[in-house]
């Protein structure tokens, strides 16, 4: 009898607690009347809360001092100084999870966050069509601070994805031309073989041939090769392990997988004529063993391990790539890596590469009423980039910089309390990347020309290792070789149906030609098929979009002229 009672009690307790858990939920804080927050002397009183969505990369570091996503040095700063509390209510790990969560939030099962960084053009489009995001044309004109307006004026094309019928539904996240790619070369190999760094295609070929055949590491074995890159996803990775320089040597501005405005009409780079010669060259090099044997199976991040291991002599990537491959200098005695500009095209022109103007766009919940507060906060985040105001050196002392013996230090290992990879303080705010106005590396260029480091940005640039600094300087000197993709709109209807097939076909044919499994003439067949299987329709739609996007002068509406 007794035991029976106990059982029933257990059961009912579980039932009850389930009910309590369920009950707690439905009390949504919608109808709670809060007093209106007023902006007084740059601070909101009482504090207002801005909810945000965030894609956070766990790789980018850890929180310290027991802090967390919604309670850290930057959120506390915002609350104290501006009366703005930032609260992350939607968090996604990688890009696809984040997009999934945004889509689920669109089902209306919960309130959409106030500020939405969106990184996918399809999702941008869907958000606009859903009517859940705010039209901000007026808000930009009214509330955007002047110094930020100056930045947005420089990059009108970043508004293309968010304009619909002459109305603006979002804005680029911190527009700024990214750094360009450099060639990282094993200088000790060059010296040993008495070669100089290549500047043309012929010289490049000589160097990679020597790196493959003349035993640059001096171990008596033919176990090295010239050039490592990734051919897994695209022959234009845009950041690390990139072979796009070889293609551009023959095609100029027509880069694979990229749309370029060619006399007023957007054309697709992968079908441009020069690609055939480029593929022929790569095919020849592959057969002679100058290239990574497994290039088609290695992603951008994998293709660099051959370089770090000391097997490959040249890799192309953004200047910070040196940070990932510099271990070769630890693994192999005497190894030295030096950055050089990318080579010249066959006709003597420069080679081009993909540039990014922004990483995603900000969009806002249609019920969000505090655009002024957003711009106040956003403007403050720019302080670090401009080297003004509170964030002169960085965002927080002891986090991204420290002052040791009256000297500003950016290497976390030399702090008063040494740190391992810490969550970037700026990234505790809205987005994956902090605002920058440094372009492809102007601060490094200035430093190389003798400018005294006095702002946070200059000091930080000055604190980096020489190889990286040289890389950024080269990147800035060659900034004209950076070209953004001219098509940044949502996938067109035909694209949604067949783009995947077309790019798969492209990747397969290119790889097969390089591997020597298909004759070089397969490229002509590919171009023909590309046009027939929907490429022509896509081109037409892309151009329609482009004309549409550049038709209305939204810049004037936003007072950004």
């Amino acid at each position: 009898m007794n035991r029976k009672n106990v059982m029933w009690k257990m059961l009912s307790t579980i039932m009850l607690s389930a009910l309590v858990v369920a009950g707690c939920s439905s009390g949504e804080s919608n109808n709670v009347a809060t007093p209106e927050s007023v902006l007084k002397d740059g601070k909101y009183d009482p504090p207002l809360t801005m909810t945000i969505a965030k894609q956070q990369d766990e790789n980018s570091g850890k929180y310290i001092n027991g802090e967390s996503l919604n309670d850290n040095v930057l959120t506390r700063w915002g609350e104290e100084k501006l009366g703005i509390k930032i609260e992350t209510t939607l968090l996604g790990g990688d890009a696809s999870q984040y997009n999934t969560k945004l889509r689920l939030a669109l089902t209306g099962s919960e309130k959409l966050p106030d500020v939405l960084p969106v990184y996918d053009t399809m999702l941008i489009n869907d958000l606009i069509e859903s009517g859940q995001v705010k039209e901000i044309t007026e808000d930009i004109a009214t509330y955007m601070p002047d110094r930020i307006k100056e930045i947005y004026k420089q990059y009108p094309s970043t508004f293309n994805p968010v304009v619909r019928d002459g109305k603006v539904y979002g804005m680029a996240i911190a527009p700024n031309l990214t750094e360009g790619e450099v060639m990282l070369i094993r200088q000790d190999w060059l010296d040993k073989l008495q070669l100089k760094a290549p500047t043309t295609l012929e010289e490049f070929e000589q160097v990679i041939a020597a790196f493959t055949n003349d035993d640059p590491d001096g171990n008596g074995k033919q176990d090295t090769y010239g050039f490592t890159f990734s051919g897994k996803d695209s022959y234009n990775t845009g950041w690390v392990s990139d072979p796009v320089m070889i293609f551009s040597a023959y095609t100029g501005k027509h880069l694979p997988r990229q749309w370029v405005n060619d006399n007023g009409k957007l054309t697709y780079g992968s079908v441009a004529p020069g690609n055939k010669e480029a593929l022929g060259k790569l095919r020849d090099w592959y057969a002679k063993g100058y290239l990574n044997k497994e290039l088609a199976t290695q992603g951008a991040w994998d293709a660099l391990s051959d370089f770090t291991e000391g097997k490959a002599g040249i890799i192309v990537g953004r200047p910070w790539l040196y940070g990932s491959v510099k271990d070769v200098e630890k693994n192999i005695e005497g190894a030295k890596v030096v950055p050089y500009p990318t080579i010249q095209g066959v006709n003597g022109d420069r080679t081009y590469q993909t540039a990014q103007l922004n990483d995603g766009v900000f969009m806002f919940n249609k019920d969000f009423q505090n655009m002024e507060a957003f711009f106040l906060y956003y403007d403050k985040m720019y302080d670090a980039a401009f080297g003004t105001g509170e964030f002169k050196y960085g965002y927080a002392q002891g986090y991204d910089y420290d002052i040791v013996n009256e000297e500003v230090i950016f290497d976390p290992q030399q702090f008063n309390t040494p740190l391992e990879a810490v969550q970037g303080v700026g990234k505790m705010a809205f987005t994956k990347n902090t605002p920058s106005v440094d372009g492809p590396g102007q601060s490094y260029y200035d430093l190389a020309n003798g400018v005294e480091p006095d702002t946070g940005v200059l000091l930080q640039s000055a604190s980096r290792d020489q190889t990286t600094k040289d890389g950024y300087r080269i990147s800035y000197e060659n900034r004209d070789s950076l070209i953004p993709n001219d098509f940044n709109g949502p996938p067109t209807p035909t694209m949604q149906n067949i783009w995947e097939q077309l790019t798969t076909m492209e990747q397969e044919i290119f790889t097969k030609i390089i591997y020597g499994n298909e004759p070089l003439e397969a490229f002509d067949t590919f171009v023909k098929q590309w046009h027939e299987k929907g490429g022509d329709e896509v081109t037409e739609e892309v151009n329609d979009w482009y004309n549409q996007a550049s038709k209305t002068d939204v810049m004037a509406l936003m007072n950004l002229k």
Binding site: Q56, S68, N70, A95, K101, D359
Partner: protein, 289 residues
């Protein structure tokens, strides 16, 4: 005397060789991971480590255990596994015991459960339901939605059915209640089945990552599998303006190896204790009526 024939010996040699090979295939990746986790960062990123640490050090483990997110995720995972397994087993044994009896509407009820096994609502309805119930950001979002699995129910029902009816009747005559019969007779007798189903549920909870990412809006609430998913799966995003320390953090393979290794250990350690029930449990559960 069949084992003295040549044919048998040849078979034995092949059999042993094959089993050793199969064992190695399972074991070597783990060994590789262990070697990576104990190697220096430079050697790992240069792909120089195979099955023996190069540049031995335990930095990766020190860093792993000093990472508060890792520890809190570990705790969430343990809590989730213990809570989830207990709740599931409680519901499943109650339901399984009842459904192993003959009563009117039993088949209809059973069909009702099996239906959920064949057709699920899908991601969006489940998400709306869970957020609507206010389970978001609580451990219940991870534990409750999967608490009642029809597949496990079938296993248990079949198990309970193998226990002779006479036993129950005898207990009734001695004055036992249903709950007494369940706890004193059925549960001890069906230990293999219980252990098997528990193991299924445990491993399921330990390994599942998607729900963690879906229902938690703060990374410190992620269970271990979700945490690892975000750490190990490299983002192919183009990262603008990465700082030196970020680049270095991204390529720290040895830490990832250590984290994977540490997270695999607990569930590997559960196996030996439950393994002895496992074979019997599967065999018995496999007999359907």
């Amino acid at each position: 005397m069949y084992h003295k024939t040549t044919g048998y010996r040849v078979f034995s040699v092949f059999n042993y060789a094959f089993m050793i090979l199969a064992g190695l295939v399972c074991f070597l990746p783990l060994l590789h991971l262990l070697a990576q986790s104990l190697s220096s960062k430079a050697a790992v990123s240069g792909n120089l480590v195979s099955f023996w640490p190069v540049g031995f050090n335990t930095d990766a483990y020190v860093k792993t255990f000093s990472n508060s997110n890792f520890i809190s995720s570990m705790w969430t995972s343990i809590l989730r596994t213990v809570l989830g397994t207990s709740i599931s087993m409680f519901i499943l044994t109650c339901a399984g015991y009842a459904l192993s009896k003959e009563f009117r509407g039993r088949n209809a009820l059973m069909w009702f459960f099996i239906f959920t096994m064949l057709f699920s609502g899908g991601l969006i309805p489940s998400y709306i339901l869970v957020t609507g119930l206010g389970l978001k950001d609580t451990i219940w979002a991870l534990v409750l939605p999967g608490a009642f699995g029809a597949y496990n129910l079938i296993l248990l029902v079949n198990f309970f059915k193998t226990i002779p009816k006479a036993l129950e009747e005898a207990a009734f005559i001695d004055g036992a209640s249903f709950f007494a019969i369940l706890s004193k007779i059925y549960l001890p007798l069906s230990l293999p089945g219980i252990a098997t189903v528990s193991l299924f549920i445990m491993v399921g909870h330990w390994n599942s990552w998607f729900d963690g990412i879906l229902y938690m809006s703060d990374a410190s609430k992620y269970p271990l599998a979700s945490f690892l998913q975000t750490v190990v799966v490299q983002s192919n995003m183009q990262n603008m303006a990465m700082s030196q320390s970020e680049v270095e953090a991204m390529s720290e393979q040895s830490i990832k190896a250590a984290q994977i290794f540490v997270s695999t250990l607990p569930i590997i350690m559960v196996y030996p204790f439950l393994q002895r029930y496992f074979v019997k449990g599967i065999v018995l559960g496999a007999v359907k009526e």
